[in-house]
């Protein structure tokens, strides 16, 4: 790969072609089998036998500024706009996120309450939380990595479980300076009942810092 500033003939065109293919590849990566993180749409009082619904939210303080995320080179960038990506499952994921493994993760909008259907296990982990902050000229990605993992121990027999709000505080360098685990159970229950237009038997499983 020649440096563009050496002034080779056609350097600009080569770079534009490279840029186009970079964007195309990013798009293909991200369209392949992404886990939908859309809120549960079924009946809150008739959840599958082996499933539970986890209710919670993740906040970033201060929030992302307009223009702080530069990911528009990806075809489906909107899916990742103002979004936290994390793994939810029985295993702790320690692998650093990259464009090739984003499909394994859940995606939730920052600050918004999520209602995620999950297979029951007595131990579940939220791990590898991050925000995709930028696509790079070389076809890579930069992430704002957030501390984790967190352990969830769903009470047996409970189908709708409030796990709380994770609030990450950051400094100007994107260093994470503080993590708050906030319990807003009553408000979350009220919001869920309003959203699903039914009374919900919700219980609480406080997040624990794990590892």
């Amino acid at each position: 790969m020649e440096k563009a500033d050496h002034g080779q003939d056609g350097g600009d065109r080569q770079m534009k072609v490279l840029s186009f293919f970079t964007a195309l590849i990013l798009g293909i990566f991200l369209l392949c089998g992404c886990i939908s993180s859309r809120d549960f749409t079924g009946n809150m009082n008739n959840i599958d036998k082996d499933k539970i619904i986890l209710v919670g939210s993740i906040e970033l303080v201060p929030p992302l500024k307009p223009g702080e995320q530069n990911i528009k080179a990806a075809l489906n960038w909107k899916e990742y706009e103002n979004t936290i990506i994390f793994s939810l499952g029985e295993q702790i994921v320690t692998e650093k996120n990259s464009l090739s493994n984003l499909s394994q993760y859940l995606k939730v909008k920052i600050g918004e309450t999520f209602y995620v259907e999950q297979k029951y296990s007595n131990k579940l982990y939220i791990s590898a939380p991050c925000i995709w902050i930028e696509t790079t000229g070389s076809g890579g990605a930069k992430f704002l990595y957030l501390p984790g993992p967190f352990l969830i121990e769903p009470p047996s027999g409970c189908k709708v479980i409030y796990i709380g709000k994770i609030r990450y505080h950051r400094d100007i360098y994107n260093g994470i300076t503080k993590i708050e685990l906030i319990d807003e159970f009553d408000a979350a229950k009220q919001d869920a009942e309003k959203k699903y237009n039914t009374s919900i038997d919700m219980c609480r499983a406080r997040l624990k810092v794990s590892g």
């Binding site: 563009a4 770079m15 840029s19 530069n70």
Partner: protein, 185 residues
């Protein structure tokens, strides 16, 4: 020249951002008489002897105050990086890298504040330190890892001596010499 560099580095991604270039790169970058009395000279060194490529670029981000041109693309001379156009504010070195045979290597500085990130309150000469890229052994199929360690060499004075070559007869020459005299005290 500026547009070519920008196309190469950032068009796929940082379309909204513009790099602040410390001059062009067809030859060694010569410092200019400051057009803005508030600008500072920031410099340092990165030993890339354990890296797959030599130092080809290093980019610093002006975090505060917000700027329409928040990125500084530092000229490089044999591992030394320097820029005489840095405005006061809080800055963070974001990435560095180099060009191999048909491969561009980019290394991100760790998230959060790092030792070399300058906070510039008044114009002057700021040495951010000498560092070494250190390869971290990984498995054959694992992605390469690295760490950055501060080193004692080259010293600030040694780098200032090298910077004189690029200061020409500008005010920077006098400021560099004044700084060298200050170190000798």
């Amino acid at each position: 020249m500026k547009s070519k560099i920008a196309t190469f580095l950032i068009v796929p991604s940082l379309t909204a951002l513009i790099l602040s270039l410390c001059g062009c790169f067809s030859g060694p970058y010569m410092m200019e008489e400051p057009k803005n009395p508030m600008t500072s000279l920031v410099f340092g060194y990165m030993d890339m002897s354990e890296a797959p490529v030599g130092l080809g670029w290093i980019i610093m981000h002006q975090l505060q105050p917000e700027s329409k041109e928040p990125y500084y693309f530092f000229p490089i001379s044999d591992g030394m990086f320097y820029c005489d156009l840095v405005e006061p504010g809080i800055h963070k070195f974001e990435e560095f890298g180099g060009y191999g045979y048909r491969t561009e290597y980019t290394f991100n500085f760790p998230q959060g504040k790092n030792e070399l990130d300058p906070v510039i309150e008044r114009p002057g000469i700021y040495f951010v330190g000498s560092y070494k890229y250190k390869k971290v052994e990984t498995g054959f199929f694992e992605q390469g890892k690295f760490s950055i360690a501060k080193t004692d060499w080259p010293t600030e004075k040694e780098l200032l001596e090298r910077l004189l070559e690029f200061a020409g007869d500008t005010i920077w020459k006098k400021r560099i010499m004044d700084r060298m005299a200050e170190i000798d005290k």
